[in-house]
Symmetry: C2
């Protein structure tokens, strides 16, 4: 395929390089296509890649959009007509300090529960897989993760032990506000199980290296 990379930073650079090495024709779009960083990127990517201004990269039929969220709108509005193109959106609307998303989540059931259960040490947990996985955590390929979050360290230790006791890989994801992430993750599981018809016998494992 002929692929235009709109934003040749870490993500655009990595994907463009690997696709080029697989034989796809890559145009790395950049506001500064002649700079030293781009020369290094082209050296890594090899003969199937070249650099161009963003608007030229955008003339390809398949585009990877990997710009910082703060300039996403301005960049897109400067690319010309995008009608009919495949645009792969790899952005995340992160707040500058990574504390949340600028779009979407601003509260969670976990926080509301904490507000209603006055004084309780609330830990969000066991909400990210279905009950069939809780009944039986066994998978031949590995151990399913259970994410949890909360504001009380001792309460989280309790939950960690309870998850480990029944075979899960328990992982602390931080303060209770992280329920804003664990609840959408749960809905992802649910939508895969039902709308996407995967059924209920799947879970996620953390891969590390």
């Amino acid at each position: 395929m002929n692929i235009g990379i709109i934003g040749s930073g870490n993500v655009g650079g990595a994907l463009g390089t690997r696709w080029a090495q697989k034989g796809h024709q890559i145009v790395f779009g950049s506001r500064t296509p002649d700079d030293a960083d781009m020369k290094k990127l082209l050296d890594r990517a090899g003969k199937n890649a070249r650099a161009a201004k963003l608007v030229e990269a955008a003339t390809n039929d398949v585009l990877l959009f990997a710009m910082p969220w703060s300039i996403a709108k301005d960049v897109l509005s400067g690319l010309g007509n995008l009608a009919g193109k495949v645009l792969i959106d790899a952005t995340n609307p992160l707040l500058p300090d990574l504390s949340g998303l600028a779009v979407g989540t601003s509260t969670s059931a976990g926080e509301q529960v904490a507000d209603w259960a006055k004084g309780a040490k609330v830990v969000k947990a066991f909400n990210t897989v279905g009950s069939t996985i809780m009944e039986n955590d066994s998978f031949s390929a590995g151990k399913p993760v259970i994410f949890y979050c909360g504001d009380d360290a001792a309460a989280k230790k309790t939950v960690h032990e309870l998850a480990a006791d029944i075979g899960f890989d328990p992982q602390d994801t931080g303060p209770l506000t992280q329920a804003r992430l664990l609840e959408p993750f749960a809905l992802l599981w649910i939508s895969l199980a039902f709308q996407q018809k995967w059924g209920r016998e799947f879970a996620f494992q953390v891969l590390r290296r």
Copy 2:
């Protein structure tokens, strides 16, 4: 531990049963602790479990809260003083048709990008792991998943091939509105990498059985 189960349905029943089998003392709380479903549940859970009204189950120091979201607030307000208790919140604020969350996400960067990139076939993808994983997808324990979503089937097929080309396990999660789930999932990866100090060399694998 002595654990009160607030809501002994699928999730509360599964976890309470497995904890009881591991030697924890379980009180299955229910509005109808004498009904036939509870008898079956107690038979499965064995000698370490008993049933009680919700308010009695809530006297334990560790509580699992696994009620439907629609009645969560009313149930909590009827449990008495919860101050100091460990309350494990396993709820998800699902809309009745599972089409979204009643709390939190109501739009996404993916949808905004589609609005700005008029006419483009936007596919949300490659936003859920860091670029070090895109550079090198290799893990000894399995293949990392790349989730994508979008409203154009052909465009999604393109993205599927591009992800498979570089070693990922590509999985369709549905329409572009699913970016409301994939973006928080990305922030989960980011927060684990940085705030939780896992570093960047991890990803997630789908486990199936």
